[in-house]
């Protein structure tokens, strides 16, 4: 099996220490986390982690089960890039005088969809939301114009096929799991979950 980029989406309780619990699942197996984001989710009180790694599907599936095994984790999904819509945010700081004196820079920024966040006498900050290649490209473009600072955020992703977590959460909240109220989530997705 070949490695590729997977985005893991984890729905959790909002609990101190959980970030560490999840992070060590990767570090224990010497797996590098390419990007990690924590944020609220569509459900009040439920937290959402977005983690990007480069691995084989087999490894990713096992990682997700280890993540779900943590007491405060509700659910972990993994997706390939074509199953999600994703973005990263990048910010660029350049000397204001360069922008002011070069019409070319202004045009380049416009072409890359950058918008201005701050303009000061000494520097200007631009931001671009997009995918890795796009934000990378702008670094190259700005380098000759004295790019002072660059930073890029973690990936955030929306799962195309997801109906959100509201309904799922109801299942989790049943006190006495009844036969039909609670599906057996793993086995329901036998094909997805149990084939190698």
């Amino acid at each position: 099996m070949t490695k590729q980029e997977y985005t893991i989406t984890v729905y959790t309780e909002n609990q101190i220490g959980l970030l560490n619990r999840i992070a060590i699942i990767f570090s224990r197996r010497k797996i590098n986390i390419e990007s990690l984001n924590t944020s609220p989710s569509e459900v009040d009180s439920v937290h959402r982690f977005t983690i990007v790694i480069n691995e084989t599907e087999d490894v990713v599936r096992k990682l997700c089960r280890q993540i779900e095994k943590q007491v405060e984790v509700l659910k972990a999904y993994y997706n390939t890039n074509d199953e999600i819509v994703w973005q990263e945010l990048a910010m660029y700081k350049v000397p204001t005088e360069v922008i002011a004196s070069s019409v070319k820079v202004e045009r380049l920024l416009r072409e890359h969809g950058a918008h201005t966040v701050v303009i000061r006498k000494d520097y200007t900050v631009f931001a671009v939301a997009g995918q890795r290649e796009e934000t990378d490209k702008l670094i190259k473009v700005l380098e000759p114009y004295n790019l002072i600072e660059f930073v890029r955020s973690a990936r955030i992703a929306i799962i195309k096929a997801s109906d959100g977590f509201h309904e799922k959460l109801k299942e989790f909240e049943y006190r006495e799991p009844g036969e039909d109220a609670i599906e057996n989530e793993f086995l329901n997705e036998n094909e997805k979950v149990f084939s190698m």
């Binding site: 060590i24 095994k69 989790f172 609670i182 149990f194």
Partner: protein, 582 residues
Amino acid sequence: MEALLIEKENKSATPAIQVSGSVAVLEAFLAEGVDTVFGYPGGAIMPIYDALYDYNDKLKHILVRHEQGAIHAAQGFARVSGRTGVVFATSGPGATNLVTGLADAMIDSTPVVCITGQVFAHLLGTDAFQETDVINITTPVTKWNYQVTDATEIPAVLARAFYIAGSGRPGPVLIDITKNAQLQLFDYNGYQKCEHIRSYRPKPIVRKEYIQEAAQLINAAERPFVIFGQGVILGKAEKEFQKFIEKAGIPSAWTIMGMSAIPTDHPLGVGMLGMHGNYGPNVLTNECDVLIAVGMRFDDRVTGRLDKYAKQAKIIHLDIDPAEIDKNVKATVPVWGDCKETLPLLTELVEQKVYPKWLQLFKDYQQKEVEKVIQEELNPTGEVMTMGEVIKTLNELTKGDAVIVTDVGQHQMVACRYAKYNKSKSNITSGGLGTMGYALPAAIGAAYGDPSRTTIAIIGDGGFQMTLQELGTIMQFKPKVKIIILNNQFLGMVRQWQQLFHEKRYSFVDITSPDFVQVAKGFGIPGKSISKREELKTSLQEMLEQDGSFLLEIMVGKENNVFPMVPQGRGVAECVLCREEI
């Protein structure tokens, strides 16, 4: 901790009384049915110990000699009683001394709740005296851990702790409580057990389709083989398991952790799996057509080389932990669930059968093993005693009724290979972590776990020296522990590997020992050391008849090896019976 706060609001309207966080901890214990605590006091847990002073009549506190001893004792207690073991330790070094035991309990799925004291909340992160980041140190080796800084959280957090430790696949939980929370007075509304955590699914609803698929495979099988682990014991499903194998007529082998779930002389019991398990079950794993794994996790010590493991077989895997299914061995039919529920469903659907020819094959292999290994091990022709004959003689005296706690090494493998058991929860050993020093404290805990049974610790001369300070605990509290030291004057198991795989370059395995009998005597424990076969039976008898603890050192062959063996990196079918075959 939002979920906890929500739960609190729903509480019944018992009139509140003011109690301290410390009292709330002890009240939680009582409500959970705890009667024995293993612990060691210190600065950061003093308020709890102060409260304990008034609970002397309800909670037995066993003062160990080292916190590692406390947690191993709690593990031994849990394994024998089927209840959750409980530990107290102070912050800093007290807490870090628990780490080995937590790792052991984690990998062997033992339910333990540890309460550690912590510095005052306002001192967290200031490198205060005896402050360590216990939560982060213990995260990888706990099923759950949580730091309490406000006493009002204590009832709900402890309820969760006990629920999580004991339900689903059990495991260790650590609750770190800052000193201010132990001292803090708050309105206490009583204790409510936890029965549900929305993000935690201890076990699933069983899916009948998979039971049906499994039954079909079993009914069509010609050479089915059951391998089972501690899941049967943890699931309290021994009866259900026995019914299943008896109806289906399937030969069954145990892992070291599953041992004693069925009586060792059960007609369908074909022995122990694994690196030093029996010949037949190892080799025939690669000849069965359907392999039914029940409550076991395909540890590498059981499977040997994975790419040579049961490749010919369809595999049915019954486990409560979905992360175990397909982790090491791909299941043809996964049966995710509590085996107490899944086994009866399966039993209903399987046909009543016998496989005399197939079972005979196990017996033939057993015969080979007897000729090449067992005969000489149990009835040695040489002058020096073997570990095997000690266990054989012990079996004759205990009739298989004792709880046997073993340490780690050759003696562990020999004891598990030859000990007889009639009752479940009788074989207590450190399986997954292989923790030397486990046996003595675990035996102390085991003796409290079921005082009606005889507890025998079997320990190597090396391992005994790792935790022998717990003799002090025995001296003071008088649990009845029979201690057998099988002394081969070596770190035997490592020596065996050096002999077999490192050209006999014995690198630091030669270990000298104190006069163990004198040591025991210093702790007020009677003892005896023997080296002659004629003394064996009478000495064991003397040990067993002693009303109280006894230490018996038995000098055994220095360079005996444990066989059969599946050498590391080989397949189970490449199990060897002697040195020459390696």
